[in-house]
Amino acid sequence: MRFGIVRFPGSNCDFDCERAVRSGLGEVPVILWHKEESLLGADIVLLPGGFSYGDHLRAGAIARFSPIMKAVRAFAAAGGPVLGICNGFQILCEAHLLPGALIRNRGLRFRCHSVYLRVESTVTPFTGEYGERQILCLPIAHGEGQYVADADTIDELERDSRVIFRYVDRAGETTTDSNPNGSLRGIAGVCSAKRNVVGLMPHPERAISQLLGSADGLGVFQSAVAALASLEGVAS
């Protein structure tokens, strides 16, 4: 089992992802510089947060054309599990591997604090170990995290249970106050039609131990391990 962590110029959560995989799972990930044209044998691909290419033009707009993205696209098309966190989510949307877009937060402020999320679907390679509608506490840190898409796309996402995480309050209810950035329907994370590509704005890799205030993010990585193990079980 090999986690691959893509490093773009300007990525800054690559080390946190590496730490989550190493100390959270005891696995040694491979770091994939964005100029690579292959995934070097990775079975799970993580696109970490940060400010790839300085967020110039639009967040994720330039990283989308990095050489490695061709390999990521092929991997995703073949059903490989891909997770985009924060800037990684923005890149996946810009690459059209996920629907919609992330625009400037309502209120224009960079929001950096913990939020509550509700797991809306456990049917993805990154949420299988959570309970349905489990409430998580994870940090956010973004200026452009307001999820938008046209009404038909949002309806389709809801209908097919492709909204994976939603901002909620401590009690698990969606409210205006619990939505930190104005995302439509409080959407914090979505998945692709085949459910193997997942993106979310909050940072599970920053919540892998009580020492960090929450260990709720660990389940994302544990889910990936379990999903891969069951895939391999089917294959063998």
Binding site: L57, R58, A61, I62, F65, C93, E94, P99, G100, A101, I103, R104, N105, R106, G107, L108, Q146, V148, A149, D150, G182
Partner: protein, 84 residues
């Protein structure tokens, strides 16, 4: 010229609209912030140039999910771009 598509919220525009109102400008609404990108292009002719700009807008400069674009090309008499 790249503009947010109709229906897409534009938080920057809303903030500027409030600031204008605070300054006493009444009757201003629908403030939307986009961006202007200037390019100097070497091309065989204007048609080629337009094709190139359109493609660049569709692929990179604008995100069709949230933005519309329009462009204008004109000949300039500046000397051709020189490498370095």
């Amino acid at each position: 010229m790249i503009r947010p598509r109709p229906g897409i919220l534009n938080p920057e525009g809303q903030t500027i609209e409030r600031a204008l109102r605070d300054l006493g400008y009444a009757g201003i609404e629908g403030v939307r912030v986009g961006r202007t990108i200037g390019l100097r292009i070497e091309a065989a002719d204007l048609t080629n140039c337009e094709q190139l700009v359109r493609e660049a807008c569709e692929r990179l400069l604008a995100n069709p999910v949230i933005e519309d674009f329009e462009f204008h090309v004109s000949e300039v008499s500046n000397p051709p771009l020189v490498a370095g």
